[in-house]
Symmetry: C2
Subunit: 593 residues, 2 copies
């Protein structure tokens, strides 16, 4: 008998050899329940057969066969060798005999560890050529935003990338926040795939000893938050794990909860899983290391980066560090070569968390100098360290001023705020912006980095003097959920703001100069990777959905299509400055400019 | 001490009370390893404290505190009551004391059962108003196609829907195939989330007793199959489970493998999971019921539908039955009211499996009468039973002749075959079709059921006499993977077949009259829900990808853009029949028509 070669899905793998047994159903012509026959100390088939004979009281003269539930006959040492502890066997008159009564066989079907390790692999797919890495980082930023939401002071979120070109296997990523951290139990829960905050058990029955979890309270809070900037972006219990295993193949979570003396540490890695599988250990078991801040006695001295991070623990009251190792080589070069691009994308995703509900308006126009303090104390910084170089490249997302939202805001001549009241789903806030034609070109921003939504030049249209249309064929609306961008969902437009089919009172191009943003809270569903909305567009199109124009936060009673038409006419009249050259008369030099 | 209230993620939940113990770290000022203190038979905090004192040899005069790893002090019966079996505790001088040495705490982080139960929920999202139910059924058809691929005779796949309007909770769905079935071990593997065929263990070491699995062989086979119609559509180890739990909340798998005497049955349901959680039983454990065909002794007599299905077992050599219960009410009414629509969508998804590589060409044009035998013996039938009505509504997918692919095929005046050789990823087969303008309208088929890809009428363009453009803004290509449609991925077009920007030699509209299909094998990746390709478009756009025109299966040497231009000109010249009315001259009655 084998010492359980099957580790996948077999709980019995953890039994000691002495406790070994098999379940045996006597199905020669009886329907008796199974009996448990101990197999400890049995080495040959003959011994086992004798024990079966004894256990079932089968006479020497009677013949019988032993078979697996797949009707493989156990008839010699070789076939006996394939039986695992806990297996179910039949005793039959002959191998072909019908089952005279049912036989129940215990099985175990633990999800394979690829559930965690590959969770992100196929989910963060690139949508038509976009690199999905920023969206994986976004999951970690989501968690950090949620964790820091009750901070009194600064909410610091730091992404550190460490490149070691001479030894790429040492490349690593850290995401560090100064949020509320996790207790050992919360850290344990963190690791449980699909354990969302909605199903987490009220810990420890009635008695609650300090380990208060405010997730639920937060989720239920219904006070109005502009643009749903509620920092409440945890939903499915998969985001962090998926993101980590999309980026690399190994993680170390280090965390210190508020008011705690101790630091708690947990590692999960593909390698560990493989090892446990090989050694037939329980796959989803591990150890949380509880230790004092700054204690790196378990870390190899060569691991200077981690050593330094642990050293920093002493300065932090409470924090969470997500360390990621085993980073995919392609990811690494993308991260290094395209830092500007992906930080720009992150700045776009979190635009309103970084700059507040009014967005990254041009500060010089509004008042002089830099905005004194960040919105809600949020500070997201990316640092790129290269081994051998003393100083990192640093990008604070607040300083990014060429992300798409910033461009939309800064080229807008006028805005039109509205809301949509969706039956059963509360309110969607929306804003439209007008990007005028100025002198010789459209001011509608272009996104050179997203080929998908970049309009082609219609250079064969008769009217086009300019070589680029404004929005082109892009949909009007980008969509934010609980304040963060859901990047793959666009809403084309609404009836009341679409290009009219007949009786135009202003040039068609004007409708192409509009951009828009929608803001929802979690009354609308998103997919687990937070890349798409599930029901937004559908619900917005429902008959009962009511749109109304907002002026200074007040709903206007007038029908929104008329309000919109008035607005867009005004935009065109006041903002578009189109110069049309006709009838050449000669060259004049102007000295007054 | 509680008898383990925590069942989520806690393996110790299955221990008997007598074996109860806690791990205790003496961290007053030592770094000694933990000791295991039995807690069986202890009822009060005082008893426990005495036992700790004894175990650690602490003198009566010395004081100490007991605490959880979250520094909750255990100091009375109430706080003692929150401790679970297997928990880790500290012995400290005082509750605030620093940890003088690390303490490792065992944790277990079994994925929550929502991994299975909600696996499909957010993954089968509706893309802009489409109902994703057909895609869930497709996963079950995928499995049935794979299971029947080595059948010698008919490959029968049957979807049965049973409506009981007087008792909607009895509504159920069956998917039945006459494929190779599953052995107990394979059925066990079926239930293991993410256990794909690529990582399934070679069962039983060296010794292989009949239980041959041909999945791997099949996957490796590299013989050319037209349009990659290889029936090999199993990939991630999640499809069936996700689909089942998207459709309902409970399943019974019944299967009889080839050459087996016995039927094997396994149930998985949300309710069972909840029960096991409540009773602190192992979540991912269950029983396979092995029994003889036709034995329904375990089924309630009222369950006539299941009783009948089990009765049918006797007629089947080998089969798999997927029974789904607890069906979402909305799904049920969609399935009932829109049968034509979703069977049409299924016919589209499996068009080439149903009709063969040439597709559903108009048989009357090709030869007379019905095509004698189905392609590769595949027969997919949907039956809708309503309680009280004697006869079901039946749709054989082969008889659907208004699915999109059929429409594309039948309106095509001409086709252009090509292939794309993608570096490292083998070959993509492609076909373009020309749908001419005939007399007064475009013949390009329209899909009234998919608002997403339906073009708007450009009634304000000057040239448009017809009120509907051909393809409109839809992308050109739909994409099939291993012969089945991946519904949410479209490829816009390729450089060589796109509308030219300059120097047109034929009307622009002609380019709008093209539809296309791409066929790949699994050298290209799809997302786990098989709704989108991951890398297709990216790789098709790579510089090294080479396109060539195929004529009768032979590659033409000429550059494909020139071949294409020649073809589309020909299409226009030969097929478009445009009548232009001009210069009204008066009314004439024609008697010759
Ligand atoms: N940086 C952090 N600080 C504190 N707690 C965290 C942090 N990151 C994760 N957690 C905890 O771990 C849990 C699991 O995180 P994970 O991102 O895997 O799933 P989730 O956030 O619950 O749901 P989603 O799938 O929507 O991301 C979180 O709910 C939170 O309680
Ligand atoms: N109808 C069937 N007949 C025989 N075996 C089946 C059937 N359905 C499922 N199986 C077996 O169960 C396994 C798991 O099925 P499931 O659909 O959950 O995942 P998969 O097909 O392996 O991968 P994917 O996620 O791509 O669907 C299959 O690989 C196959 O071996
Ligand atoms: Mg998260
Ligand atoms: Mg499958």
């Amino acid at each position: 008998m084998a010492t359980s070669r099957r580790s996948v899905g077999n709980t019995s793998a953890q039994l000691e050899d002495d406790d070994a047994f098999v379940y045996v159903f006597d199905r020669r012509d009886s329907d008796v329940p199974e009996i448990k026959i101990p197999t400890g100390g049995l080495f040959t088939y003959v011994d086992f057969k004798a024990r079966v004979r004894e256990a079932l009281g089968i006479k020497k003269s009677e013949s019988f066969v032993i078979a697996t539930t797949n009707r493989e006959e156990i008839k010699d040492d070789d076939s006996w060798d394939i039986i695992d502890k806990g297996d179910t066997l039949y005793i039959l008159r002959n191998i072909q005999q019908e089952l005279c009564a049912p036989a129940q066989q215990r099985v175990s079907y633990l999800p394979h560890y690829d559930t965690i390790v590959k969770g992100g692999m196929y989910e963060y797919y690139a949508s038509e050529g976009q690199n999905p890495l920023p969206y994986a980082f976004a999951e970690l930023i989501d968690n950090a935003l949620a964790a820091t939401s009750n901070n009194l002071g600064a909410r610091s979120i730091e992404i550190r990338l460490h490149f070691d070109d001479s030894n790429p296997s040492k490349n690593c990523v850290y995401v560090i926040d100064n949020g509320k951290g996790m207790t050992p139990r919360q850290l344990n829960n963190w690791a449980i795939y699909r354990l969302s905050k909605f199903i987490r058990k009220d810990k420890r029955g009635k008695v609650s000893v300090g380990e208060e979890d405010d997730d639920k309270k937060q989720a239920q809070s219904s006070a109005y938050t502009p643009l749903s900037l509620n920092s409440d972006i945890s939903y499915f219990g998969v985001g962090g794990k998926q993101a980590i295993f999309f980026i690399g193949n190994s993680t170390r979570m280090i965390t210190k909860p508020i008011e705690s003396k101790d630091v708690h540490e947990l590692t999960i890695s593909k390698e560990e899983f493989q090892m446990k599988e090989k050694n037939q250990e329980a796959i989803y078991s591990g150890y949380i290391r509880n230790r004092k801040p700054g204690d790196s006695s378990h870390i190899a001295a060569e691991d200077e980066i981690l050593g330094k991070v642990i050293e920093e623990e002493k300065e932090r009251e409470h924090f969470t560090v997500v360390e990621i190792h085993g980073i995919n080589q392609q990811h690494m070069s993308y991260l290094k070569l395209h830092m500007k691009q992906w930080t720009r994308q992150l700045a776009h995703i979190y635009h309103y968390y970084i700059h507040g509900p009014r967005g990254n308006i041009d500060v010089e126009e509004v008042n002089s100098g830099r905005i004194p303090s960040p919105f809600k104390n949020i500070d997201i910084e990316v640092k790129l360290f290269t081994k051998g170089h003393p100083h990192p490249r640093v990008v604070n997302l607040r300083d990014v001023d060429d992300d798409m939202q910033t461009q939309f805001l800064r080229t807008a001549a006028n805005t039109f705020e509205f809301k949509a009241s969706v039956e059963g789903s509360g309110v969607v806030e929306g804003v439209l912006r007008y990007h005028p034609f100025l002198y010789d070109r459209e001011t509608y921003p272009s996104d050179a980095n997203d080929p998908r939504i970049e309009p082609e030049a219609f250079d064969d249209h008769d009217y086009a003097i300019n070589d680029r249309p404004a929005r082109g064929r892009r949909p009007v609306f980008e969509c934010y959920w609980n304040g963060r961008l859901i990047p793959y969902t666009f809403v084309e437009n609404f009836d009341w703001c679409a290009e009219p089919k007949k009786s135009r009172t202003l040039p068609l191009e004007c409708y192409n100069r509009i951009s828009g943003v929608l803001f929802t809270n979690d009354h609308f569903q998103v997919s687990t990777n937070k890349l798409t909305f599930i029901d937004l567009e559908m619900r917005l199109r429902e008959k009962n959905t009511v749109y109304s124009h907002l002026v200074n936060g007040q709903e206007k009673r007038t029908a929104i299509d008329r309000e919109f038409l008035t607005w867009i006419k005004e935009c065109h009249d006041q903002s578009d400055k189109q110069i049309r050259f006709s009838h050449f008369k000669g060259v004049v030099t102007r000295h007054d400019l």
